[in-house]
Symmetry: C2
Subunit: 492 residues, 2 copies
């Protein structure tokens, strides 16, 4: 028997559902049971409660939060939000759609993409209805998130080739009005809102598995509460919002071997794929499972974007002004996970990642030798780049002009961005296959009655780390969490 | 509801198992029921029958064959076969293991790899026991398969960097003694052998779904025979050897989007993932689902290997002497699916793929312009390559010396190998997660009682098209088919 995440814990085999016939009594009965209180679970529960459904959230930690609470809290909105207008940017639903179609990735669900863009202003209002505040300001520098309480940033590939040719670039990352990270703030507003609606939150309650009736319909959950397993009835349905599986080593190696190579998983302890496993156990299909967001954040400082990212052959392979996740994905796929950032004395700065400087030389020829790159390869890359850079252009990989400048101030340094030498942060983008309504589908495309999923437990809005933008995770998870909450509340 | 493969055929929802309680009568009862008669099913059934189990094979076509019958029939054996020795090659189990560890891909199951290598001579004898003949000859040219009835070829990456540094190169592709393709011959020998053992073959019998008892054990199948659904009991177990899912467009788009881009699927009509879906429906996990073998066979002629494969930026990105599938994988991942093969007048020849020649020019400068490659990039690639080639070396991508020669005989031509411009053949390498015994596992690592899988319906020996060798599919599918047949025959 291969080692499994549950090998030592026979009570924790989420993929084995219980039958209704095996249940003697109910700990409680609700219209809707939401499993996991991150941003997807909170959004689902709030919409279900607002629609009048009696709603329980089961959260295995001591308090809601999930991966959202660990994040900076950026949300991807567009189509002309109050903040975009105040900051002087003109956006439309069509323009947002043109970019999000690309940013969600080639495997995205067109229906989810369309709904997300068409209802973006409504979704902005949803967050305002929770009491989440956004400042009407734009932070005018390429950053991963604003260090201030400013709101709007370019959080993805909008300004980078080829995305810049497909839609007019507009910033759409909205960070709530908090200095530093704002993810916890979002969740606290959700807790307050859900409590005010009369919803029930049961913390420190781990869901063990689903309960299904003789027709295969999901009718409740088995949960560990106060040290004992109890059955909880869900009259209308169960919503799985348990997060992804970045913390489950066995699942990662089986389903997402590339992601398993990264050394810095981003998620809470709960991101162990339990909801995905529960869904599989009742016939749901999991898709997009090998995909994720990987990132080695080589900027800020913005000067690094003016540097060159090269393979061990001394070749460039990506425009360095892309979203950091897209650059990282290219390092893995195009350069076998090994790359250097080459900067000169003018472009170098201390980066947040603390990358190791592996060579400093007065000439490119010396740097080429130091790095063990075959003779003439890095020299060609530099000579060619600098020649075009005199005119402010990069015809080979199309870095935007504002980041193109000749690199001619020695010394030249190489920072190691390789997957085995630097921080590579990672989370998963695969999960249960759902309709936009949140209904979970089997591999044959049939609806699993009574079962809904959203957030990282599902294959949601954004499907590809090489096309991603910050804010699409919290944005998509909350949006389709809301859809699931409305659907389940309206179910028979 | 999204379009599903089964949308128009409600009787064909393999992922929905039937309960034993719903079965009124049995069409037949056997110890072992094997679903699908390709090389995996044939091997499983023969071993089960040899162990004394009453065995039924259900085949949906008019005769056994599957994808194997469509193939050239190469089988990957090593460790010192009779043919290897006769042809003057020295191989050992350790040397074979060193290569197969790499060739099976980074996500391979080490236990399967080890068993496959340790028992390779036994597996060769198994094929001889079927009456499959192998000629004691070596075909001394880099080909995809010998056009003659010769046997031994280098069928993978053995001689190519970096594989050549990890194990002593030895040829291990063994084609049976037939001119042209020999896949059908293998299957015919299996049919004869199985019949002689008293086994039962039921052709034109499509399995609709599995039947499970109240404990979740698989106890039979529901099959369409003579136009009516009938239940068939499997006392010891069911072996799913139904092939992969390359012919199921919906599954391909959901689970293997890169493979879905290829225009030439390789498989039989039965390769629609029905067995994988059946396994998922009773709680099995499917892994490695996004992987497959993609190939645009740019050689023979062998001269093409001496050419340069370049991206739209004019860069090389792979040693051109790799296995064709590895080169093709690199075109997709490293060059965004767009590449040209550049040859000069001495290296060009008519290829089996009939690639389109998109430019012919007297100089590389002109070719660069014709192809729209940014100025100086292709010129650098050529100048640098030719300079090193004077010494017969390729320090940048490590093509083997015998294929390295200066390209200096104009005119120069570009053949388009791009995914949207040439033949890209493809099949899938993902399926049900099994132990080496063939037992199917859930996502929590639990055995699904009564259910076995082998061949393309499972995630078998070889998991990666970028590491693959021809012969590992038929080799691995038949080997682990045999393992499954032995296991199920020994079950309670």
């Amino acid at each position: 028997m291969p080692e499994s995440p549950a090998a030592s814990d026979p009570e924790s085999l989420p993929s084995e559902p219980r039958t209704l016939a095996s249940i003697d009594s109910w700990w409680g009965q609700f219209d809707v049971v939401v499993v996991g209180f991150g941003v997807a679970g909170g959004a689902a529960a709030i919409e279900a409660a607002r629609a009048g459904a009696s709603t329980l959230i089961l959260e295995r930690a001591t308090r809601g939060g999930g991966a959202t609470a660990l994040s900076e809290g950026t949300i991807y909105f567009g189509g002309g939000t109050r903040v975009q207008i105040a900051a002087g940017f003109e956006d439309t639903t069509e323009n947002m759609l043109a970019h999000v179609k690309a940013a969600a990735g080639p495997t995205a669900d067109p229906e989810k993409v369309r709904l997300y863009c068409e209802k973006s202003l409504d979704h902005f209002e949803f967050f305002e209805s929770l009491g989440v505040e956004f400042k009407d300001t734009y932070y005018d520098e390429k950053v991963i998130f604003p260090p201030t309480d400013d709101c709007l940033i370019y959080s993805g590939n909008e300004e980078a080739y080829p995305f810049s040719e497909e839609a007019k670039p507009v910033p759409r990352g909205h960070k709530p009005r908090r200095k530093g990270s704002a993810g916890g703030y979002i969740i606290e507003q959700m807790i307050e809102t859900f409590n005010a609606l009369g919803g029930t939150i049961q913390n420190e309650s781990r869901v063990l598995t689903l309960i299904k009736d003789e027709n295969g319909r999901v009718v409740g959950v088995l949960a560990q509460i106060d040290g004992a397993p109890v059955a909880i009835r869900a009259r209308k349905g169960v919503v799985l919002t348990t997060g992804g599986f970045i913390m489950n080593r066995a699942m990662l190696e089986q389903f997402a071997p590339d992601l398993a190579k990264c050394n810095y998983p981003i998620g809470s302890d709960g991101c162990d794929g339990s909801g995905i496993r529960m869904g599989l156990g009742v016939g749901g299909a999991a898709i997009n499972m090998s995909e994720g967001l990987m990132t080695t954040p080589f900027f800020p400082p913005v000067g690094h974007i003016k540097g060159l990212i090269i393979s061990k052959q001394g070749q460039r392979f990506i425009n360095e002004d892309c979203y950091h996740g897209r650059v990282t994905d290219a390092i893995l796929r195009k350069a076998d996970g090994r790359a250097y950032l080459i900067v000169d004395d003018e472009t170098y700065g201390q980066s947040i990642g603390g990358y190791k400087m592996v060579a400093v030389e007065e000439t490119i020829e010396e740097l080429e030798r130091s790095l063990g790159i075959p003779e003439g390869q890095l020299v060609h890359t530099f000579t060619s780049y600098n020649r075009f850079a005199m005119d402010g252009v990069d015809p080979v990989f199309h870095k935007a002009s504002k980041y193109v400048t000749p690199l001619d101030h020695p010394p030249f340094a190489a920072l190691d961005l390789s997957i085995d030498k630097s921080i590579w942060a990672v989370f998963t983008l695969g999960g249960l296959n759902t309709q936009a309504t949140g209904e979970v589908l089997s591999v044959d495309g049939q609806i699993i009655d009574g079962l809904y999923a959203a957030g990282r437990a599902s294959a949601g809005l954004t499907r590809s780390g090489s096309h991603y933008a910050s804010g699409m995770s919290i944005g998509g998870s909350s949006f389709f969490g809301r859809m699931a909450g409305k659907s389940v509340a309206a179910a028979d």
